[in-house]
C-alpha cells in the first residue's frame, strides 16, 4: 500500500470480492453435488401433482434434502398464489 492510499476511500479489493463470491457459489454447488440424482425429477412430478389443484409456477416449489448423521430430511416448500378461487 502506498503513502497516498491512506487518503483514498477504503474500497474492497477485487481479489477479496472474488474470494467471497467463490466461497458462496462453491458451497452452493457442493451442496447440490451431494444430492441424489432423482431430486430434479421428484420436483417436476410434485409440481405436476400440485397443478392438478392449484395453478403454480415452477419456481414456487422448492425441494431440498438435508442430510444429518442418522437421518435425512426432505424439505418441501410450496408457495401458493394469494387469492384462491
Amino acid at each position: 500500500m502506498s503513502f497516498f492510499d491512506y487518503f483514498k476511500s477504503k474500497k474492497k479489493s477485487t481479489a477479496s470480492v472474488a474470494k467471497e463470491r467463490l466461497q458462496i457459489i462453491v458451497a452452493h454447488e457442493r451442496g447440490m453435488r451431494d444430492q441424489p440424482d432423482y431430486l430434479p425429477q421428484l420436483q417436476q412430478e410434485l409440481i405436476a401433482v400440485i397443478r392438478k389443484y392449484v395453478q403454480i409456477d415452477d419456481d414456487m416449489v422448492q425441494v431440498e434434502l438435508d442430510r444429518n448423521e442418522d437421518c435425512s430430511v426432505l424439505e418441501l416448500n410450496v408457495t401458493l398464489p394469494e387469492h384462491q378461487p
Binding site: F3, F4, R33
Partner: protein, 269 residues
C-alpha cells in the same frame, strides 16, 4: 506397480498440457520410466509442446482399436532417456476412447512404466472422464481467477464420485493443487486471488505455484518442456512440484513480489 497421474482442470487454457509435459519430463529426468498420454482426441497438442509433432505415425486411438501396437505408437523423447509420449488422434471422435480400451492400454503400459501421466482435455465430458477414471493421483491445475477455481472444484467433485477409485470404494484419488500463472505483484495489489485464498476455497494440498513467466511461452514456442529451463523461476517451480509429488519437503518459492525501493513504495500503489 505403475502410478497413474491425471493432469486435469475443467477449464481450458490454464496450463494442463504445459504441466503434463513438465511433470512427466521431471519424473523421467529422475530416472523413472515415464509415459505421458494425450487424451485430447481431436485437438492433439502435447506433441507440439514436447517437440515430436513430426514423429507421430500412430496414436492412442490406433492402439485402442488394435490398428497399431503400443511400441509402434510410443514416441521416445530425444532429450530425456526414460520418457515416452503417446499422442492423441487428430481425426477421430472423442468417443473412440472406450473405457475398456483405455484400461487395456493402461494395463499394458503399467507392466513396464513407473509413471503414467494422463493429459486431460478441458471440460467434464467423456474425454476428461476417461483421462481421470483410472487415476491414482490428480494434479488439478488452477489459475488464480474465479472461473478456473470454480471449474477446479467441479472436477474435484467428479474425481470423488466418478473415478474408478470412488466407484470401487478404494482409497480416494490423491488430489494436488497446482496454481499456475501466479502473479505476486497483482496479489499484493489486491487484484488477484492469493495462494492462501485458493487453498482455502478448494481445500486440497498445494503441490506448487508456478509464477506467470514469459519463459513459458518461449519454451512452448520451441517445443521445450518448461522444467528443462533450469535457470528460470517457472522451471524451478515445476522441479519443486515434481519433488513434492515424490514426497520431498520443499519450501514454496516465488510467492512474493520482488522488493521495491523506498520511492516506488511511497509513490506507486
Amino acid at each position: 506397480m505403475a502410478k497413474i497421474i491425471v493432469v486435469t482442470s475443467g477449464k481450458g487454457g490454464v496450463g494442463k498440457t504445459t504441466t503434463s509435459a513438465s511433470i512427466s519430463t521431471g519424473l523421467a529426468r529422475r530416472g523413472f520410466k515415464t509415459v505421458v498420454i494425450d487424451f485430447d482426441v481431436g485437438l492433439r497438442n502435447l506433441d507440439l509442446i514436447m517437440n515430436c509433432e513430426r514423429r507421430v505415425v500412430y496414436d492412442f486411438v490406433n492402439v485402442i482399436q488394435g490398428e497399431a501396437s503400443l511400441n509402434q505408437a510410443l514416441i521416445k523423447d530425444k532429450r530425456v532417456e526414460t520418457l515416452y509420449i503417446l499422442p492423441a488422434s487428430q481425426t477421430r471422435e472423442k468417443e473412440a476412447l472406450t473405457q475398456e480400451g483405455v484400461e487395456r492400454v493402461l494395463n499394458e503400459l503399467a507392466e513396464t512404466f513407473d509413471y503414467i501421466v494422463c493429459d486431460s482435455p478441458a471440460g467434464i465430458e467423456h474425454g476428461a472422464q476417461m483421462a481421470l477414471y483410472y487415476a491414482d493421483e490428480a494434479i488439478v491445475v488452477t489459475n488464480p481467477e474465479v472461473s478456473s477455481v470454480r471449474d477446479s472444484d467441479r472436477i474435484l467433485g467428479i474425481l470423488q464420485s466418478k473415478s474408478r477409485r470412488s466407484e470401487m470404494g478404494l482409497d480416494p484419488v490423491k488430489e494436488h493443487l497446482l496454481l499456475t500463472r501466479y502473479n505476486p505483484d497483482r496479489v499484493d495489489r489486491g487484484e488477484m486471488l492469493s495462494v492462501g485464498d485458493v487453498e482455502e476455497i478448494l481445500a486440497i494440498p498445494l503441490l506448487g505455484v508456478i509464477p506467470e513467466s514469459q519463459i513459458v511461452l518461449n519454451a512452448s514456442n520451441q517445443g521445450m518442456p518448461v522444467i528443462l529451463e533450469n535457470d528460470s523461476d517457472a522451471g524451478q517451480a515445476y522441479e519443486d512440484a515434481v519433488g513434492r509429488l515424490l514426497g520431498e519437503e520443499r519450501e514454496h518459492r516465488f510467492l512474493t513480489a520482488a522488493k521495491k525501493g523506498f520511492f516506488s513504495r511511497m509513490f506507486k500503489g
